[in-house]
């Protein structure tokens, strides 16, 4: 019985001491009573120690010398492993509590030395019995955990360690404080409606695949294109990463229910149709793309223009020529397409090199933002409302992971 209890108590000592040493009032850390690995190691240490003692007593025989050295090496290895496990165990708990090693680093040496001293006089089990004990301990631990999960019996230090150091995907869902301190971050879906100014020309630009990079510097660099203009900028949330949704969402005037409680949406162009403002929709791609045939006419534009595959420069020129017409006021919506994925020149959607895709994307986006800046400079009396439709999708996953999910920038110029 002593042979079983002493190693158990010794391993509990190694496991519980760092827990107690770092204990704070109100903490809620689920932790086993003893480390399974240290328990196993202690049982083996006793076993090897007994072997060595046995050899030492019958040292006269020459044959046993190689075995004697082998056992000594084994014992040294086991003791090293014990220290290592105790050290990892300590680091695990310090990682949970976000603390540095400092004086706690002494704990494993103290507890392990004490543990070895405790079990040194114990008689060893047979190897089969050790195996059996470890096997049943594992099963008892798991069975007990199924019954009462709040206090596990054993602690699996190495498994916890592996879990701790496993690569964790970057957090892409919530905008960090760093952004929040610098920019307006909102859930609003009515950016366009809030910033539209019916006393002058309005241009609503939806920039394809313009998302919020995880690195704030990269975002700041993008905003530098608009330097010298009167600018309001921020970040807003999208429900879906779909161009089609964004295109409609940005033009919503109001959502109301009729008497039968059916939901109906009124769009800004429909609303403006009652005034004498000329409404125009521009898109450089085909009308079939994203099934625009199905909805674009219902939104209420007076003029609709589709290219077949015209790039952003041509559409920007067209927009420019419309704005030069000063005979009447304009409301223009433009969805860009140069930054649409899969980008030109990349044959594979997901397998292309993420860095190559990134640099191409950065370049295309810079060109489009530059075009917008030029337009805004040329027409200082026109209000420009620029938004991203969604973060980059349909591209190599590594590249996608450089952007927040479902967050896009909005920029109000002039």
């Amino acid at each position: 019985m002593r042979s079983l209890l002493y190693p158990l108590i010794a391993s509990a000592l190694i496991t519980i001491t760092p827990f107690l040493a770092t204990f704070e009032k109100g903490q809620d850390i689920v932790r086993g009573l003893f480390s399974y690995e240290t328990f196993a190691l202690l049982l083996f240490i006793i076993f090897v120690k007994d072997k060595i003692q046995g050899h030492a007593q019958s040292s006269s025989q020459k044959q046993s010398r190689p075995f004697f050295t082998l056992y000594l090496i084994l014992l040294a290895l086991l003791i090293c492993a014990l220290f290592a496990i105790a050290w990892i165990d300590l680091q695990n708990i310090l990682a949970i509590k976000n603390r540095n090693t400092s004086w706690y680093g002494l704990l494993p040496f103290a507890t392990c030395s004490l543990a070895i001293a405790m079990v040194w006089q114990i008689k060893s089990f047979h190897l089969r019995a050790i195996s059996f004990i470890l096997f049943t301990t594992l099963i008892i631990h798991l069975a007990a955990q199924n019954q009462y999960a709040a206090q596990p019996l054993a602690q699996f230090t190495t498994i916890d360690y592996l879990e701790r150091i496993a690569p964790k995907p970057a957090q892409r869902k919530n905008i960090t404080e760093e952004f929040k301190n610098k920019y307006t971050v909102t859930d609003s879906v009515s950016i366009t409606r809030n910033y539209i100014d019916t006393t002058r020309n309005n241009v609503v630009i939806l920039v394809e695949s313009w998302g919020i990079p995880l690195e704030i510097n990269r975002f700041e660099k993008q905003l530098k294109f608009f330097n010298g203009l009167k600018i309001t900028s921020g970040i807003h949330n999208r429900m879906y990463s779909r161009t089609r949704t964004a295109e409609r969402e940005d033009l919503i005037y109001e959502i109301h229910r009729d008497t039968a409680m059916h939901r109906d949406t009124a769009f800004i162009p429909q609303h403006l149709a009652r005034t004498n403002i000329e409404t125009t929709y521009l898109f450089g791609g085909n009308i079939q793309e994203h099934q625009r045939t199905k909805y674009i006419y219902n939104i209420g534009f007076k003029n609709v223009f589709f290219g077949d595959s015209l790039n952003d420069v041509i559409i920007a020129n067209k927009l420019d020529s419309i704005l030069t017409d000063s005979t009447q006021k304009h409301f223009i919506a433009w969805t860009t397409r140069d930054t649409k994925f899969p980008l030109e020149g990349f044959t594979s959607i997901y397998q292309s090199d993420a860095d190559a895709v990134d640099s191409a994307y950065t370049q295309y986006l810079a060109q489009t933002l530059d075009l917008i800046t030029h337009l805004a400079r040329k027409h200082p009396d026109t209000r420009f409302i620029v938004q991203g439709d969604h973060n980059p999708i349909l591209s190599p996953i590594k590249f996608q992971e450089r952007f927040y999910k479902r967050w896009v920038p909005f920029v109000i110029l002039n």
């Binding site: 199924n146 879990e163 779909r242």
Partner: protein
């Protein structure tokens, strides 16, 4: 213990539990796949018996055909599966009785059957049949090897010593004695031969389950290597026959589906599995990428709901455009997290009765035959290795996991040695009585509860459904000129109401009810049936006059998106949750005139 006595004991135990299951349980297939394979076998989809069972080797179908011809009303497929479970249990019980003696053996065999009966008889399905058959086969094989190794060894040595004058001995032997040696040899080989037969049957029921058992079989044989060596020729011949026959039968089955009539069906399986069965990926990201690519997110939703019998829009090539988007979004599974997940799933295994049988047997090995104690760790390691493989694939389900425990538990039995601890007969009877009474009680009160084959939770197999299916079937039968297209859900519910598993689905009984989903689309007889109603593309031809839809009112958008300008839907009849619908084209002129009227 005598052969007769052990068999009788084992039969009595198993008959008792079979009776409990049949009386108190809910007699159903554990998987709807089994029901429809049986239906295919009895020609329900077409006009004649069809033994090609898709997931089960066609040999099973061919073997059952004579029975169907003799008694066409009986569901032999189901009875065959139940019998395979019964046979396997009886074999395992028999070996337990032989290995552990009358008293301990009776307790263990009863415990074994008690813990497994519900999981197998009441959720009977081909995968589990394959596992239990293979497991029983392996056990019998191993038992045949270890049965009387010492006696055989002695015989071998006498043979060797008498080798130089073998001919003399043979001549000296009376014909009767030669016959006797042959007979005793055969008798000795019987367990091995029967074991091979059971394993082969297992491989027929499900090839993968049989293969999955092989590493466990190897492990079990490794632990009785010495005994194997003593009868090495028997073992080698046995294994050679086993593998050659198994692979031959498997390739025979695979070749059936290489026929041109199955070409469409076979091509369709890969996208079907990817869209219908695979779930461990970010479906929302796939949806958005599909939209961004100019595909239809709503079509992708339909496909995920198993609505895909449109031969044009959902042709294999166009489905590939969707399935190609899936692999990049598979859930990441870092190797470093595997040990943690493994420990968790090991903890969950404790809910499986099979785990406890394995554990008890391991303890018994340690007590009776401590030399083989390593089996505890090696079998555990093998199970964990399989589990981590499945975890990486994200497909660890209860029925597969319990298969691992089954194999490692059953293969522990040959390693048991004599029980030295005597137990009083009255005590045995008391234990058996308690087990029997407890089981009668639980089956009587909750016999219809079974473990879900996917997650292992207790539930009953009854689908909550207020519809009166006799009315539904009457409605269908009253219109013999119509073809009915069903949602997969309705189709699957039919399996619970059309006929119980022990009655055969009559020929042609499903001919006019074709599912829009499931794995039945593109089966040759279904294509044929549709053709005879003038339907070449089911979803598109849904607007034909002779087509009625059951339980799928959501196709209007799809039809307008891809096939027609304007489609309307009328409800023809409703019975509980089941509604019959008629899709029809709306003529532009109609709508214009209506507008004019208004």
């Amino acid at each position: 213990m005598s052969f007769k006595r052990a068999v009788t004991y084992s039969l009595v135990i198993n008959l008792f539990f079979l009776a409990l299951c049949l009386i108190f349980g809910d007699v159903k297939f554990g998987a709807i796949d089994d029901y429809f394979m049986a239906a295919r076998l009895t020609g329900a989809f077409g006009t004649d018996y069809n033994p090609h069972l898709i997931f089960v080797n066609a040999i099973y179908g061919y073997a059952l055909l004579p029975l169907y011809h003799l008694f066409p009303k009986i569901g032999w497929y189901y009875i065959g599966e139940m019998f395979s479970v019964f046979l396997s249990f009886t074999v395992i019980g028999y070996v337990l009785l032989q290995r552990c003696g009358e008293r301990w053996g009776a307790i263990l065999a009863t415990l074994f059957t008690a813990l497994f009966a519900s999981d197998f008889y009441l959720v009977v399905q081909f995968t589990q049949c394959a596992s239990i058959l293979s497991a029983a086969g392996m056990l019998l094989f191993a038992y045949g090897v270890i049965k009387n190794p010492i006696v055989t060894q002695r015989q071998d040595s006498t043979n060797i010593s008498t080798k130089p004058n073998t001919s003399v001995t043979l001549e000296g032997q009376s014909p009767d004695r030669v016959h006797n040696t042959f007979f005793t040899n055969l008798q000795k080989s019987t367990p091995v031969i029967l074991g091979i037969a059971l394993m082969l049957w297992g491989s027929i029921m499900r090839w993968q389950a049989f293969l999955m058992g092989m590493p466990f079989f190897c492990l079990g044989m490794l632990f009785i290597l010495k005994e194997c060596w003593a009868v090495k020729w028997r073992v080698i011949t046995g294994l050679a026959i086993l593998f050659i026959t198994a692979f031959a039968m498997h390739s025979f089955d695979q070749n059936i589906y290489k026929a041109p009539e199955y070409a469409d069906f076979v091509k369709f399986q890969e996208p079907r599995v990817n869209l219908g069965d695979v779930g461990n990926y970010n479906a929302n990201a796939v949806y958005e990428d599909a939209e961004e690519l100019g595909l239809y997110g709503n079509d992708y939703h339909m496909l995920r709901e198993w609505v895909w019998y449109d031969t044009e829009i959902f042709s294999v090539d166009s489905l590939k455009r969707y399935t190609n988007l899936i692999p990049p979004y598979r859930d990441p599974n870092p190797l470093k997290l595997i040990p943690h997940k493994l420990l968790n799933s090991l903890g969950k295994s404790f809910h499986a009765p099979l785990f406890w049988i394995w554990f008890i047997l391991c303890i018994l090995i340690y007590i009776t035959n401590p030399k083989k104690f390593l089996y505890l760790w090696t079998s555990l390691a093998l199970v964990l290795a399989f589990m981590s493989y499945l975890l990486v694939m994200g497909r660890l389900v209860y029925r597969v996991e319990s298969g691992f425990w089954l194999y490692s538990a059953v293969l522990a039995i040959p390693l048991l040695d004599k029980f030295t601890f005597k137990i009083h007969k009255r005590f045995v009877i008391a234990i058996l009585g308690i087990i029997a009474i407890a089981n009668v009680y639980t089956y009587a009160t909750s016999g219809n509860l079974v473990r879900d084959p996917t997650n292992g939770e207790m539930r009953n197999l009854v689908v909550k459904d207020t519809s009166d299916f006799t009315q539904v079937f009457e409605y269908i039968d009253s219109q013999p000129q119509k073809m009915f297209l069903l949602s997969m859900d309705a189709f699957m519910r039919f399996s619970h109401h059309r006929n119980p598993p022990y009655i055969a689905s009559p020929i042609g009984s499903y001919r006019r009810t074709v599912s829009l989903g499931y794995w039945t689309p593109y089966l040759p007889e279904i294509t044929e049936a549709l053709k005879s109603f003038g339907i070449s593309n089911p979803i598109k031809d849904i607007v034909n006059d002779n087509v009625i839809v059951l339980d799928d009112p959501h196709l209007v958008d799809f039809l307008q998106r891809h096939h027609y300008d304007s489609v309307a839907i009328d409800t023809l009849a409703t019975f509980g949750e089941m509604s019959f619908y008629k899709y029809r084209l709306v003529q532009q002129n109609d709508s214009l005139s209506k507008e004019a009227e208004q």
